[in-house]
């Protein structure tokens, strides 16, 4: 206990120097905490926002292999699928149904742009509607049968304004061309994911364009209460639906990890006929981004290690000076019977306290800074909306990575003074007391 008090007292002897080192440790600790928490928060928000754009946490869509080998999207009997969902025994919050034309060209005057068109039911996708940032117009315009919401990027390329009518060249379910008119009722900020530019219209109108029956749909999205329960509930739902539906293997069970784009492509040369169903979760679709987050964390750690090394050089130099300053003091303590190990321990404790205080101050400052940033409203309509939760940046502390960095800070501090501590312990009392330094 005396040694602990002595170490704490020694830290106070050169207050400026101690504070300087604690601040250096605190800043590095704060930076690491913010960076890890920020990437976690951004990923969670992206996942949640993407689930609204994709309309669900879990997606089910049917693929039908035609006689000529082509594959088209078709869930066959939509009502049957909805009944199976209802009777699956897996609780869910809501569901949404969609129809999509993946390739179409929009024309307005002499301009054209490539688009995919999603048909959806606004009444089923309230959380999606709440999150889409508009530049002009809004979803209310979809009360017009052929109303369409396009991105500001597409509007700019087409040089089209609200209430103008564009012509779209689309293919129906038999890949036959038709040209249909859409009235622009909304222009939204770009929410394109993975470079796919998407427009939104009424599902019933799009069904008519594609040649599907009224009430039909091509994909079903299911919302659960939160992202956290997606994987467990998806497993249960998949098991329940597998009794009645013929499914492709789920993405994570595929032998080869496909890219996010490959998830949307039909499988090639699989031996199947008729209709087979794909079952994916938002986590499957965000897999690449999650992997990117891990890479970011690894890179952050490497950068932090370099910062720690710089700080360590400072700490090592400071403790070398400290040792020189305390030559006579060490000699006196050794002459009075202090053991070599105790002298080393004194230095180790000083460094340990300094690093712990630095880490605590750093984490507390980080928490404070993150809270302040959280309070800043960035708006729900801006280009950053995909990374925000209700217009705010959120931070999700990653205990593993923050813990690892805390360990690294303490370890590097310990390592930086180890040489000095050993050297101090090896000083002979006579030599130290006779020193003129």
């Amino acid at each position: 206990m005396k040694l602990v008090l002595l170490a704490l007292r020694n830290l106070q002897r050169q207050k400026k120097r101690t504070i300087f080192l604690i601040v250096a440790i605190a800043i590095s600790s704060m930076l690491s905490a913010i960076m890890y928490s920020f990437s976690g928060g951004v990923l969670n928000n992206m996942t949640e926002n993407a689930s609204n754009i994709f309309a669900g946490h879990v997606y089910l869509y049917g693929k039908e292999r035609l006689n000529d080998g082509r594959i088209i999207y078709n869930v066959d009997d939509g009502q049957k699928i909805l009944e199976l969902l209802e009777n699956s025994g897996v609780p869910y919050n809501s569901y949404s149904v969609r129809t999509e034309i993946m390739q179409s060209t929009f024309y307005f005057e002499s301009n054209s742009v490539w688009q995919s068109i999603i048909g959806f039911s606004p009444e089923n996708e309230k959380s999606f509607l709440e999150r889409v940032p508009f530049v002009a117009g809004g979803f209310d315009g979809l009360s017009i049968e052929n109303g369409i919401i396009i991105s500001s990027k597409s509007a700019e390329k087409l040089k089209i304004r609200l209430n103008d009518t564009l012509t779209a060249k689309v293919k129906d379910k038999n890949s036959q061309f038709s040209a249909v008119d859409f009235q622009v009722v909304g222009i939204m900020d770009n929410i394109d994911l993975f470079g796919v530019s998407t427009s939104y219209t009424n599902i019933e109108y799009l069904n008519k364009v594609i040649g599907l029956e009224p009430g039909a749909f091509q994909s079903l999205g299911i919302y659960f209460s939160s992202i956290e329960e997606v994987d467990s509930k998806a497993d249960a739902l998949f098991e329940a639906l597998s009794k009645d539906l013929n499914f492709f293997p789920r993405p994570e069970k595929k032998e080869k990890a496909d890219s996010i784009y490959a998830l949307f492509l039909p499988r090639i040369d699989d031996d199947w006929s008729g209709i087979k169903y794909e079952f994916e979760t938002i986590n499957d679709r965000m897999k690449d981004i999650r992997e990117a987050e891990n890479v970011i964390k690894i890179v952050t750690t490497i950068v932090m290690i370099f910062i720690y090394l710089v700080i360590c050089v400072g700490i090592a130099n400071t403790f070398s000076i400290v040792m020189i300053e305390r030559f006579k003091e060490i000699g006196t303590m050794r002459a009075l019977g202090m053991q070599r190990g105790t002298v080393s321990m004194l230095f180790v404790l000083e460094a340990l306290f300094m690093s712990i205080i630095g880490v605590v101050v750093g984490l507390a400052s980080g928490a404070l800074l993150m809270s302040l940033v959280y309070l800043i409203p960035f708006g729900t309509n801006g280009p950053l909306f995909l990374f925000l939760k209700n217009g705010h940046f959120t931070f999700v502390p990653d205990i593993f990575w923050i813990g690892l960095n805390t360990f690294l800070i303490v370890f590097f501090t310990f390592a930086s003074i180890l040489g000095t501590a050993i050297k101090a312990s090896r000083l002979s009392p006579v030599e130290a007391l006779s020193s003129v330094k």
């Binding site: 000529d68 080998g69 054209s112 890949s175 036959q176 061309f177 040209a179 249909v180 090639i268």
Partner: protein, 265 residues
Amino acid sequence: MKKQSLIYLVILAFLLVSASPRNAELKKEYGVDFDLLLKEVDEIGNFETTDFSSDISIAAVDSEGKTNYTKARVYRRDREGKYVLIITEPDSKKGKGYLQIGDNLWIYDPSSRKFEHTNMKETIEGSDAKNSDFNMNSLSDNYHVEDVITSKLGEHECWVLELQAFTTDVSYPMMRIWVRKDLPIVLRANEYGKGVDETTNQPRLLRISLFKSYMKIGEKYMPSKILQVDNLNQGERTQITIENPSTAAQDDFIFTKAYLERVSN
């Protein structure tokens, strides 16, 4: 037999039966069997007894005036319903290919080394050109003549045939083609989309193909220059040139997936 196929057969039979009286009416009016004329249009461009190969160049001009060039080699064995198209330029697309055997058409992507089913209606490399533009003619298998007028196109007297599709195997459910009266070749084709324009109540013209010149290969005629204009955006057009035609016999190996894989390496 699948229920869907049965329905198609019934519809097909119905359309064929219902088409005949119309053809009879037109025959009575003009003294020409237009269903037979359509068959002749197909036959004059098809190679039932030999193979066929050629080089094609596609120059696609987008609405901003930017031109994309694509070159390809085409092989056909019409008697077996086989077709191969391999892109030779630009380098970024080199080796990409299409293979048709019967009803199946695959696209081969050399970067992923995968085959994927596709159809004749897919456009080639962002142009207005489709595989169906280079494959054997099959108008009489998919369309019947709904109406006829006479017209002059350039120096040629033409029949203008209004065609309605009775299958879903074609890109355009309705066409108007200008067929020379003295030779059953098409000089112009107006291709219309499904449905009608709500304001004019008329079918919507999507693409205009102008067959600017033909080359004679034995008894057959093959277009050598085609201009395709996107009617929805007339700034977009595609110029197709067909060169180096040959009716020499081709190796069986060409019409295989293995060939596409080998040629792309």
